[in-house]
């Protein structure tokens, strides 16, 4: 039996043993969740991957549905009186796609040594350090660079870092050296959130207003500056905004030589691009009947431009109509899905989320819209939460106008049903 399977078996035994009245958890005590999840995915019949699979069946097979068993654990160990502590977060999973073999995975989400004395604190190791104020987009989340709006909402894996913090009565400062282990590595190992960087955050509480200032110096993207605020404007209304200006950024680019021709290698690669700006404004409103509304609009200047997407569409069409062998065209069309892996697909986005939480239930529906091309991602979710158990179902559909980038994504729909046991 593999180590991961042993861990999962042990965790399941522990969770069964814990299936009694919910015991109180001391702050800093171990806690986590055991989960069973069924994931359903429907392939898109439009887009470059669908075209590739049509030309060469099996080259880009649609993603399979899968059953997943997971165990997540978080714990903090303290050496009393020393100011030292060790933070730990683990994730072990067994994934079995329909019609395929199972796969065991495990990862350390967090493992960090911490020290505190007076108003100072320091950390070293792998840790989630998440900044900024938005819900759907966080331009100033410059350390963790957490993927937003995931369907399953799992705990992220932290970044390797060294951190020093100072806490005033109504202020705080943090200095982080993220990814020090990649210092001096080749660019291919330093893209995006893997880039070594120094990041600085200042925080000030001014009554109902939280003010944040950010600075980041990346090893190859150089400097960026940012600011954010969150303001409780009324009994039920919160406003937030975030702005960041970057000297350089990592982004997808296609080799100039590829143009509309069939090529022998993936023409898409991550490159260091020029300056950009990112901005977010939004508000959250909560009603007396436990209903809530979040509305956000953002501009992400690091996403491909309108011209870049027009060129992408043109290349897709050229490849489909090319006289090259089907296998070659299929491979090139499959490579066209490369720039679809990213944060914001389009630069301008509108996000709306409605939720209602009667009793133990939470119902939510949200829409991410890309006005430039009429794309949309619609999500609906239902969750029931008991003392220890929770049940969740979620459905997400990708679509919009036929020419929109979202309508070209590999998936048309994904859904999940999940049962979780909290301990």
């Amino acid at each position: 039996m593999t180590l991961v399977r042993r861990l999962i078996a042990l965790a399941l035994a522990l969770t069964l043993a814990l299936c009694g009245p919910a015991a109180p958890a001391a702050d800093g005590a171990a806690h986590g969740e055991a989960r069973l999840r069924w994931e359903q995915r429907s392939a898109n019949r439009s887009g470059p991957l669908a075209a590739a699979d049509a030309l060469a069946p099996g080259l880009a097979p649609p993603p399979a549905d899968a059953a997943v068993a997971e165990l997540e654990l978080a714990h903090t160990l303290h050496a009393a009186g020393s100011g030292l502590s060790l933070g730990l977060g683990l994730l072990a999973a067994h994934r079995r796609p329909e019609g395929g073999p199972g796969l065991d995975t495990s990862r350390v989400n967090e493992l960090h040594l911490n020290w505190e004395r007076g108003a100072w604190a320091a950390s070293a190791g792998r840790r989630v350090v998440a900044w900024d104020v938005g819900h759907g987009f966080r331009p100033n989340d410059v350390v963790q660079q957490e993927e937003r709006r995931t369907l399953a909402g799992l705990a992220p894996q932290g970044r390797p870092l060294l951190q020093l913090e100072y806490f005033g009565s109504e202020s705080a400062a943090a200095l982080v050296w993220v990814n020090p282990n990649r210092h001096g590595d080749g660019l291919s190992r330093q893209r995006g959130a893997d880039e070594p960087a120094l990041a600085l955050r200042g925080y000030w509480q001014l009554g109902a207003l939280d003010l944040h200032g950010f600075a980041r110096a990346g090893e190859h993207t150089r400097a960026s500056l940012g600011a954010a605020l969150a303001w409780v404007a009324g009994d039920a209304l919160e406003l937030h905004a975030s702005l960041r200006v970057l000297q350089r950024h990592d982004g997808w680019a296609v080799a100039a030589a590829a143009d509309d021709a069939v090529v022998g290698a993936n023409p898409w690669s991550q490159t260091t691009r020029g300056g950009a700006a990112q901005a977010l404004v939004g508000f959250g409103w909560t009603g007396a009947a436990r209903q809530s509304l979040i509305v956000e609009a953002w501009h992400d200047g690091t996403a491909p431009s309108d011209a870049a997407w027009r060129s992408w569409h043109a290349r897709n069409a050229a490849l489909v109509g090319s006289g090259a062998p089907a296998a070659a065209r299929a491979g090139n069309l499959a490579w066209q899905a490369t720039p679809l892996n990213g944060g914001s697909l389009r630069r301008d986005n509108l996000f709306v989320r409605l939720a209602w939480e009667p009793e133990r239930w939470q119902l939510s529906a949200d829409a991410l819209l890309t006005p430039a091309d009429g794309g949309r991602i619609l999500t609906a979710a239902l969750q029931w939460r008991g003392e220890r158990w929770r049940l969740e179902a979620a459905l997400r559909r990708y679509g919009g106008r036929g020419g929109s980038v979202i309508a070209q994504l590999p998936l048309r729909q994904q859904s999940l049903v999940m049962l979780g046991l909290m301990y």
Binding site: D27, A121, W131, E387, M422
Partner: protein, 252 residues
């Protein structure tokens, strides 16, 4: 009318006015006395158990909290039950933050979000009326309708907008001034909850052991807030900084 009755009437009016003034001046003292039955110290750590019961009497939810109360309208609530493990609510005057275990970021929340729930964080973390309310003495009334025991009825108005209840009608025991019951009104002046206080020894009360809340706005469930233990505890200033709490430090 002869001079003597006029003088007596004038004297009676003067005495009545003086009596009212004395009673009004005593309201802060009454509130401080009532607060001692629930808090008892300026810096406090309270272990709290909240049990919600459905209309049919069946148990619904049970939650455990550790509440740190500090002077100056500062409090920190730690959620202890598995369903909420790792969550924290920080309240500094009229400013509130929610910290969720997975997010590592403090979220600013509105007063409306703080109110949500059968027993809101305001119910759990507000143990002092003297700091937060002005009041006047309405008069002496039965503690419960039909009861022979007399109480002092106080009408309280919130000093700050961020408080869960903008108006409280409070009944205190006549002899010891322990809290007996209260009507809790929200910003819109709607009756949100009825509160009943259970003391340790009715004849010689020293502390409130339990607060029973009846919801009047939504679910009409009954919620029992039991104070399992109270101890004087001054916490470090850093615990009241939302950025420090985002580190998930040990708060023991």
């Amino acid at each position: 009318m002869t001079r003597l009755p006029r003088r007596l009437a004038a004297l009676a009016l003067a005495l009545a006015a003086a009596g009212s003034a004395c009673a009004a001046d005593d309201v802060p003292t009454l509130l401080r006395t009532a607060d001692r039955f629930r808090s008892g110290a300026e810096h406090l750590q309270v272990e709290t158990l909240v049990q919600t019961v459905n209309r049919d009497g069946s148990p619904d939810k049970e939650r455990r909290y550790t509440v740190f109360l500090q002077p100056g309208h500062k409090s920190l609530v730690l959620m202890r039950s598995p369903a909420e493990a790792g969550q924290k609510v920080l309240m500094l005057d009229d400013d509130f933050w929610l910290l969720l275990p997975g997010s590592q970021r403090p979220l600013r929340i509105t007063p409306a979000q703080k109110l949500l729930g059968e027993a809101s964080t305001g119910d759990i973390a507000t143990l002092r009326w003297a700091e937060d309310y002005d009041g006047q003495l309405v008069g002496e009334e039965p503690g419960e309708p039909g009861s022979a025991a007399r109480c002092l009825h106080l009408s309280l108005q919130a000093q700050r907008r961020g408080l869960s209840y903008q108006r409280i009608e409070l009944w205190l025991g006549q002899q010891h001034h322990e809290p007996v019951r209260a009507e809790l009104y929200v910003q819109s002046d709607k009756l949100a909850k009825l509160a009943r206080f259970v003391v340790d020894t009715p004849d010689a009360p020293t502390r409130v052991n339990e607060m029973v809340l009846g919801d009047r706005l939504g679910s009409h469930k009954e919620t029992r807030v039991r104070y399992l233990s109270r101890q004087a505890r001054e916490i470090p200033a850093s615990w009241l900084n939302p950025m420090y709490l985002a580190r998930n430090p040990a708060l023991e």
